[in-house]
């Protein structure tokens, strides 16, 4: 006899879910069969040429920003930089689909999206430079601090969107994650909360193939990461993450759906990180150059340029203008980083609490005395 033999044979209890219970047909939630694409399809003609040129311009400037930041790490002027080279389409679209009143919840790789929100390009780098945690005002820019602990910003996006809706504001929150981040508990809790609360949130997963060295096959056994939406009761979308127009369109639809009360969406953008995880990482240990080269062929910047030119939507002048603006930004970055940042040691004790505790006051006095002694010596 086993415990199973003791299973009750009583009639079905009355609490079984009824018609108001969970969805019985997951089909409307399932992601696209293939990554959604616009470039190279007739759908391109349906998009506003101004928007297309804007996306291109931002891609070019973003690419240059990534390159310059990486160079600055080599010169020791930036402590670390997780480059989004290869993923610029996702970064750019994440910013361009949001309105001023919406909120962005970026992860550490999403500096470009933060800059796309209008944050000063240098202020966006204080965390990675090491002179301050968050160099911008998150409230004024509706942009949460760059988040290092994986996926922990996702529930924040849900809470903010939920609060905004309670207050009657049509505000949408967009949370950005990597493929590795989808394995963290906070990701799953955030999805579940978002669906249960019907919060106006969009989750954008940039699936760039690797979490540092670990490939997606060791991260998840799901057919796609977008499938993870189904179990929570929200739609999942799958999009070509290097097709800036497609990412923009899919995200814009998800944002619109959220804004009009349709609830959350999970978007998986298939993309690739062309550089190493950060400047400190050796990517040749875990991936072959054939793979990298294949993705270079599908580079989001050249991809868009090629298709826009072919459609007669982009001329040499626009291309030159983008290149000029990119160079100007790079020059500003070089100049700014050439100067040593101003640091205030006593700021360490500021902003721990609204009012410093007696203990912090004492410690601030101790450091002040040490500094005075140093200055005197």
């Amino acid at each position: 006899m086993t415990v199973l033999d003791h299973r009750p044979t009583a009639p079905v209890p009355p609490w079984l879910p009824d018609a108001t219970g969970p969805r019985t047909d997951p089909a409307p939630l399932l992601p696209d069969d293939a990554p959604y694409r616009v470039l190279g399809t007739p759908k391109l003609a349906e998009h506003d040429p101004e928007l297309l040129r804007e996306l291109y311009h931002r891609l070019v400037v973003g690419r240059r920003y990534n390159q310059q930041a990486t160079t600055l790490t080599k010169q020791g002027r930036l402590a670390v930089y997780p480059s989004s080279t290869g993923q610029e389409a996702c970064e750019v679209a994440a910013a361009t689909v949001l309105r001023e009143e919406d909120w962005l919840f970026p992860s550490y790789r999403d500096t470009l999206a933060v800059v796309g929100r209008g944050v000063d390009p240098l202020a966006a780098l204080t965390l990675l430079r090491g002179n301050a945690h968050t160099g911008y005002d998150p409230v004024a820019t509706r942009t949460a601090p760059l988040c290092t602990p994986l996926a922990t910003q996702a529930p924040h996006a849900v809470g903010l969107a939920h609060a905004a809706r309670l207050r009657g504001d049509r505000v949408v929150a967009l949370a950005m994650l990597g493929d590795g981040g989808t394995s963290e508990g906070d990701f799953h809790e955030a999805l579940n909360f978002a669906a249960v609360l019907n919060a106006p949130v969009v989750f954008l997963v940039q699936n760039n193939g690797y979490a540092i060295s670990v490939p997606l096959t060791k991260q998840s056994a799901a057919p796609t990461l977008a499938h993870k939406a189904v179990g929570y009761g929200m739609p999942g979308r799958l999009v070509d993450g290097n097709d800036a127009v497609a990412v923009h369109q899919v995200l814009a639809e998800a944002v619109e759906r959220a804004r009009t009360g349709g609830g959350p969406t999970l978007v998986e953008a298939l993309t690739y990180r062309l550089e190493a995880h950060t400047n400190a990482d050796d990517a040749t240990r875990y991936r072959v150059s054939e793979e990298v080269e294949a993705w270079r062929e599908h580079d989001p910047v050249s991809l868009l340029e090629r298709h826009l030119r072919a459609a007669g939507l982009l001329d040499d002048a626009a291309v030159a203008r983008a290149a000029e603006d990119a160079e100007a930004l790079a020059a500003t970055m070089r100049a700014e980083f050439h100067a040593e940042p101003e640091l205030d040691a006593l700021s360490l004790f500021q902003h721990v609490y609204a009012e410093p505790t007696p203990q912090l006051r004492e410690q601030a006095e101790q450091l002040a005395a040490e500094l005075a002694a140093e200055a005197g010596a």
Partner: protein, 320 residues
């Protein structure tokens, strides 16, 4: 005390429409200890929200709500079930103000029923105050009286900083008249509950009644014990503690949480640093053993009682 906490929540929610409660079973049921009883009925399900079962999700959602200008009050159902939310607490709740150079404050109150003495089974009796107290950016308070339950909880919700509000489970059923108009001391102030000249028992939360009982019993030995209720572990009231210890010259720290690396070790060190020349004896600690919280039928061996406290006081007397 449970009713005082309930009254504090109700009065704060009435006074400030941005105060929102969220947690497991806080709505229809009113919480497993009924601290949120009737609040969903009065303020609606949005302001007293039954959440999915996910502590990190609850606290992480509260972070976002606070970012948008709400004042969330989170209930963790039991002490040991708050641990899944530890990352949100340490990495975000405690640090957001500092990470954003003061631009984003998180006025979140996290209410956690804590401690033993109620015959709870495993994972229902932890005292986790040391984890919270060693996390900069959090206030950590714990009431021991009915008046403080009301006053400190209202002050915690009104605070612009995150507050870990530790509710001593075994005092939930303690009784006293509550005058909601009477002011209590603010967060960060210790209160002398009993004056005395032989030694001072420094304590907080669930151990306060035990210390008061010990002080009564000590009279038979001819000892006149003072009892100091810390009320707030962070900020710590060094000034009051040092003043009392200097005037008495002998001190015992009492808490039921484990001793090694515990709050008592911190207090003993601070007192020694500040009052060395006024001390007639080393600062002693009476704490729970350094063991996982025991099964309920054995918990009375673990929890510091009157006898253990009096033994410590006896040890302090050697120099006369």
């Amino acid at each position: 005390m449970a009713q005082a906490l309930n009254a504090a929540l109700r009065d704060e929610m009435r006074a400030d429409p941005t105060v929102h409660l969220l947690g497991e079973d806080v709505g229809t049921l009113g919480g497993v200890f009924r601290i949120t009883d009737g609040l969903a009925a009065e303020f609606g399900a949005d302001r007293c929200l039954d959440t999915p079962l996910a502590e990190a999700g609850i606290l992480g959602t509260a972070v976002g709500m606070a970012m948008y200008g709400l004042r969330p009050v989170v209930e963790m159902q039991f002490d040991a079930f708050a641990y899944p939310a530890m990352e949100q607490l340490v990495s975000h709740v405690a640090k957001m103000r500092n990470r954003t150079a003061g631009k984003l404050a998180l006025p979140i109150t996290v209410r956690i029923p804590y401690g033993g003495g109620i015959g709870g089974v495993e994972h229902h009796s932890d005292s986790s105050e040391a984890y919270y107290a060693s996390t900069p950016g959090l206030h950590v308070v714990t009431p021991a009286t009915v008046a403080d339950a009301y006053g400190l909880l209202r002050a915690s919700i009104a605070s612009d900083d995150p507050v870990i509000f530790l509710e001593p489970k075994r005092l939930y059923w303690s009784k006293a008249e509550l005058d909601t108009t009477a002011a209590t001391e603010p967060i960060g102030r210790a209160v002398l509950r009993r004056a005395g000249r032989s030694a001072v028992l420094i304590t907080y939360g669930p151990s306060l009644p035990v210390c008061l009982e010990a002080a009564e019993a000590a009279k038979a030995e001819g000892w006149d014990l003072a009892v100091l209720d810390l009320r707030s572990l962070v900020p710590f009231d060094d000034a009051t503690v040092a003043e009392v210890v200097r005037s008495v010259g002998r001190a015992v720290v009492v808490h039921e949480s484990t001793g090694f690396g515990g709050v008592g070790a911190e207090i003993a060190a601070r007192v020694t640093e500040r009052c060395f020349h006024h001390l007639a004896a080393p600062v002693l600690r009476v704490t729970g053993f350094d063991i996982p919280y025991p099964p309920p039928m054995l918990e009375h061996h673990h929890l510091p009682g009157v006898d253990r406290i009096l033994d410590a006081v006896a040890k302090l007397q050697w120099e006369d």
